[in-house]
């Protein structure tokens, strides 16, 4: 730890502690909240932010503490910040699909069940797009 002032020590420690706390809060929210649509909030926001904080802490640790050029840790943050909304969107689609296919057994979120789509359009789930709709891109 040569050449590392007490200020950098404090900054890196705070980033690590805040990141780990956010990761724990996200996982706790996933266990605590009642339905899937609410459970999505914890992992997609709190846990991703926590990992971002820890990655910035790790980057500073290697750059200031070890004197290495360690900017590549930001690649993981960038990748996660891009992929987390896509994962959340896919999981929300799975939830809508379960609401549609399982009928009354499935538990809807606090917003209730989604309104039925119009005749021309359809949810982007199991059923193939109607042949004359804008979503149909190929012959079925």
């Amino acid at each position: 730890m040569s050449g590392l002032g007490i200020l950098f020590d404090v900054i890196i420690s705070v980033l690590i502690v805040i990141g780990a706390s956010f990761a724990l809060i996200g996982s706790w929210g996933m266990v605590r909240l009642p339905t899937l649509m609410e459970r999505l909030h914890g992992p997609t926001k709190a846990t991703t932010l926590g990992l971002g904080g820890m990655l910035v802490g790790s980057m500073l640790y290697f750059m200031l503490g070890e004197g290495q050029w360690a900017l590549h840790e930001l690649l993981i943050s960038l990748f996660l910040f891009i992929t987390a909304p896509i994962s959340a969107n896919m999981i929300a689609k799975v939830h809508l699909h379960e609401l549609r296919t399982q009928g009354d057994d499935a538990v809807a979120g606090p917003a209730g069940r989604p309104a039925a789509p119009s005749d021309k359009a359809n949810w982007a789930t199991y059923e193939a797009p109607h042949a004359d709709s804008v979503a149909a891109t190929s012959e079925s």
Binding site: I12, I16, L24, M30, V31, A70, I76, V94, H97
Partner: protein, 89 residues
């Protein structure tokens, strides 16, 4: 001071992984299990990053990046399978 922060991070991430495992086993729907697995991968990435800081080894970054990519592909594959009954159409 950083060693205390790293110990705290290990404790927090262990608890988070245990909570994820509980949600993974309990469900109740397939979507809940996918969320639990996705979060578990993110927490595992965080554990790898903290191990890299503990051992002052830059190589752990590669493992974390690979796990991030594989975890995302796995989540999307599970969702696609549930949505369409197939992964690559």
């Amino acid at each position: 001071m950083i060693s205390y922060a790293i110990t705290f991070a290990f404790v927090c991430l262990s608890l988070a992984l245990a909570l994820n495992l509980w949600r993974l086993l309990k469900g109740p729907t397939a979507g809940d299990r996918i969320v639990a697995l996705d979060t578990m991968v993110i927490n595992a990435i965080a554990v790898i990053i903290v191990i890299g800081m503990l051992t002052v080894n830059d190589t752990y970054y590669e493992a974390a990046l690979l796990l991030a990519m594989v975890g995302f592909v796995g989540t999307v594959a599970y969702c696609k399978f549930l949505l369409r009954g197939d992964i690559v159409e």
